[in-house]
Symmetry: C2
Subunit: 332 residues, 2 copies
Amino acid sequence: MAVTIRDVAQRAGVSKTTVSRVLNGRDELDARTAARVRAVIDELGYVPNARAVAFARGSTRVVAMLLPSLTWPWIGEVVQAAIEVVEDAGYGMLVFTTTQGDQSMRRFTEHVSARAFDGLLVVEPEGTLDYIQSLHDEGLPVVLVDDRGHEPRFASVATTNRLGALAAAHHLLAIGRTRPLVVSGDPRFGCVQDRLAGFAEGFSAAGRSLDPLLTVEGDFTHESGQAAVARALEAHLTFDAVFVHNDSMATGVMAELRRSGLRIPDDVAVVGFDDLPSAAQTEPPLTSVHQPIREMGQAAARALLASFAGTPLPTTPIVLPTSFTVRASTTG
Amino acid sequence: MAVTIRDVAQRAGVSKTTVSRVLNGRDELDARTAARVRAVIDELGYVPNARAVAFARGSTRVVAMLLPSLTWPWIGEVVQAAIEVVEDAGYGMLVFTTTQGDQSMRRFTEHVSARAFDGLLVVEPEGTLDYIQSLHDEGLPVVLVDDRGHEPRFASVATTNRLGALAAAHHLLAIGRTRPLVVSGDPRFGCVQDRLAGFAEGFSAAGRSLDPLLTVEGDFTHESGQAAVARALEAHLTFDAVFVHNDSMATGVMAELRRSGLRIPDDVAVVGFDDLPSAAQTEPPLTSVHQPIREMGQAAARALLASFAGTPLPTTPIVLPTSFTVRASTTG
DNA sequence: CTGAAAGCGCTTACAG
DNA sequence: CTGAAAGCGCTTACAG
C-alpha cells in the first residue's frame, strides 16, 4: 500500500489538514510543527497521490498540446521547448496529434470534456481554428503557437515573417543578386503572405521590382521545392537566386538545381526559412531566416502557466523576432 | 457548472450506480433502462469527469513516455506511432524528456510516485536502464522501445540489427564492392555490436574478410560521419563503399565524400541504417537498412495497453524485422 | 436487474 | 496556529 496523508498525519501526531498545509506551503503554521511534518514526509517517502489532488483541487497539473503531427522537425522543436518549461513547473504534458483526422479530433474532444488537463497549447491542425476558438470561448486557457500567420482572438505566439523575408531580400541584394525566384508556401496562410510581402518590399525599396513570373507555389514539402525549380527551369526562366519559404523545400530546390548542373551559390544562391538545426547539414549549408522556434514554444508555455497563477493571458500576439543566418548557399 | 453523473441519474430517474453501469458497459442491465440512460447522456452532453474517474478507479487512463529528447527524427516517429495507438484506446499520452538531466529525472520520479499514469513506454535516456528496471520491479508496467540493443529483464521491442547489417553486406557484395569502410556508432551499444557482427558475417560468408583498419567510430551525429570519412581519407585508406550505422551519419559521410571529389555511387557506394523518411531526400537518395520504427512504437503501445486488460507483458523481446531499401546511393 | 452507502485521498471553508 | 467535517464525482462491494 502506498503511504497516504493519513499515515503522515498519524505518525507526526497532527491532523490531515495540517499535513495538507505543509504540503501546500500555507504560512499560518508553527515552524516547529511544519518541520516535524516535513521530517515525517521524508522519512516515509510520502508523495501526494496526483489523482486525489487533481480531484480534490479541481485541477490536474497537466497541460495538453494539440498538434498536426510529431514527425515534422519544426513541431518537434516547439514541443521540446514547451515540455521543458512545463516540466520545470512540475506539470505534465499530454500530447495529442491529429494524424487520424476526425477520429483524432473526437478523441481529443472527449479529453477536453472530461477536464483531463488545465490548459492547452496548440500548433493548429489544418482547419481547426474555429474549434480551438470555441474551446477558448468556453473558458479553457489556450495559447496558439502560430506558424500560419493567423490573427486569433485569443493568446498566441508568432514571429516576424515580414521582417525575416525583408532580411532575406537585403542579403540577396547585398551579394548582387537581382532576379530571385521565390518558392512560396500555400498562399492562404498569413505567414506566406507576410513573407511574400516582406521580400517584395526589400526589392522595391532598392528600386527593383520582382518579376511576377518568378514566384511559384510549393506546399512546404521537399518534393514541392524540387518540382517548383524543375518547372521554372523547364519554362526557361532565368534567375540568380531562390528565396524559399521553408528549409524543407530549400533542400528540394538545391537538389534540383544541382541536378540541372547549376552551381550553388555561384550560379544560383539559395535562402531558406526556419533555420532548423538541419540547415547547417545541407549541401552546401543553407543560409536561412531563423525562426525563434524554441523561444516560441517556451513563451507559449510560460504564458499558459502564468495564467494558472492569475496573470491574464495576453490579448495581443507575443511576437518574437526572426534573425538571419548566413551560410555557404549564398556566400560559397 | 459541468453536468455530473448525479444530473444524469436524476433526469433518467435511476440511481448513480445504474448510470455508472451504463457508462462502463456492465451487462446486468435492462436494455430499456440502459437506452433511456444513454438518451439522457446524449441529451445533456454528459462526459464523466476524468479526474473523478481516475481517483475512484485508481487508474488514470493515461500512459507516459520517457525519452531523451523529442527532436531526434527516430524518436519522433516512435512517439507518433505510439500516440496513435494510445489515442485509439481513448488513453492520453504524457510525454517526459530528459534534456535537463538530473532535474528532469527528479521531476519524472515525482510523477511516478504520484501515480500520475498507469504504464510507461521508454526510449532509454543514457544510463537510466537500472532505474527503469527498478520501476518495473516495483510494479509499474513498463515496455522498452529498444534502440540500443539492451537485453532487459522486462518487456521490450527491438529489431533485427544483425540481419539488417547482413543484408547491407549482401547488397554491397552483389554490386561488386569489396572494400567497405564501416562507420559505426558507440561500440558500447548492443545494436552497434550486432550491426558490426552482421556486416562482417556477410563478408566472411562470401569468403572475404574486412580490413580492421576500415572500421571507424562515430557517435550517430551528422558531424561525426563527416569527420570519420575525413579521417579515413586523410589516412589514405582506400574503399569503394561505406556502411554507416545510421542515416544522420550517412548524410555527413556523403557530404564529405563529395567535398573530396568522390562520386556516389560510382567511386564510393553508401548504405545507411534507419531509413528515416528523410533518406529519400538526400543527394543522392540513400540506400538504407529500414528499421520498422512505426511498428516498434505501435507494438510497444499495444503490449502496454493489453497488459492493462490482463494480458501479461511479454518476457522476451518483441523483435520486428528490418527490411532493405535500395536507392541511388548504391545503384546510381 | 437495481439502489443505498461506503470509499477512493486529498483540499478547504468553518470554527475555535 | 490547528482540527473536525464536508465535499470533490465517480466506482464498487453488498444487499435485495
